[in-house]
Symmetry: C2
Subunit: 157 residues, 2 copies
DNA sequence: TCAAATAGGACTAAAATAGTACTGTATCAA
DNA sequence: TTGATACAGTACTATTTTAGTCCTATTTGA
């Protein structure tokens, strides 16, 4: 596992829609439609992303959102940071003061290294890459699953 | 965030206790005490770790657990894999069939890359290192990002 | 001034996780 | 052979986290 939240996941989809045409301002309803995600949820995501500097918002009639930076300047690490806060695999990393063993824990320093390594890995992948069409990744193995997918989704929703 | 589960976290503590004296068999009660974690919880963790091949168990009176491999041969990735299953930041990675967009999703292939990068980073850190007393490892290359991160954290909270 | 849109916060529902307990099985030693 | 010790497995409950929704306020353009 080691999963990021669904909202963070969705946000990569929404952002990649925006990245396809970075100059254009789009409102929440459009983005909800294009990303096939419920409007209230998309709306929530957009607010969070705007608040944390990944999107610029334009209020009022004919307003909307657009990317605050070029897609190549936004990394996956940035997106996760914006949606979930600092990357930290353990609780002691992002919430100091919870763990009683904190002051004597010899592992904490190692976790910092690990977190940094993960962050670095995530920093290397940009939104520009995420939004780019697949280059010869073989989709063959997934195609056959499609009908099962729809069924699974129906069960889930 | 991007957090691993508490159980996975605890398990690193328990394993590092075992790693301090890899030959010695210890029972659940001992390990609970030494790791300052409730016995039922430690017990659950130990079972999971044994089931997934990180620990060898010895049943019966004077039984207990010991590491299945040398501490240097057990990586953080192994631990997370044992406790949480395959590393995958998105749901589609570890549960194919849920997402309707799966077959047409151009991002999936990128997520595979990202997961691999994270797994690689976690594979480089071993239990031997985790269990070792602190030595000042060089955080130099990451330092420059640190202040930016803190700022971002402040904004998020 | 009206309509369209974001901002912010509060609230509810659902899902995942943590934690506990109980029953079964293996092993050792008296 | 029997009792004590300790792991194995599973089911259950409670808690916490996350997701999702809704409502009201504010901003802005026509």
């Amino acid at each position: 596992m080691l999963r990021m939240s669904k909202l963070a996941d969705y946000s990569t989809v929404v952002l990649s829609v925006l990245a396809r045409d970075p100059q254009r301002t789009r409102n929440a309803a459009e983005l909800a439609q294009e990303s096939a995600t419920p409007l209230p949820t998309v709306s929530k995501i957009l607010k969070t992303l705007a608040k944390n500097g990944l999107l610029t918002s334009v209020r009022g009639a004919s307003g909307g959102y657009l990317l605050a930076r070029a897609p190549a300047q936004i990394s996956v690490a940035d997106i996760i940071l914006a949606m979930e806060g600092p990357i930290g695999l353990t609780e002691c990393g992002s919430h100091p003061g919870i763990c009683v063993q904190e002051s004597t824990c010899s592992m904490r320093h190692h976790w910092n290294r690990i977190n940094d390594a993960v962050r670095e890995a995530l920093d290397k992948v940009t939104l520009a890459e995420l939004a780019a069409p697949n280059q010869k990744a073989s989709p063959i193995q997934w195609v056959k699953k499609e009908s099962a997918d729809k069924k699974a989704l129906a069960a889930v929703r």
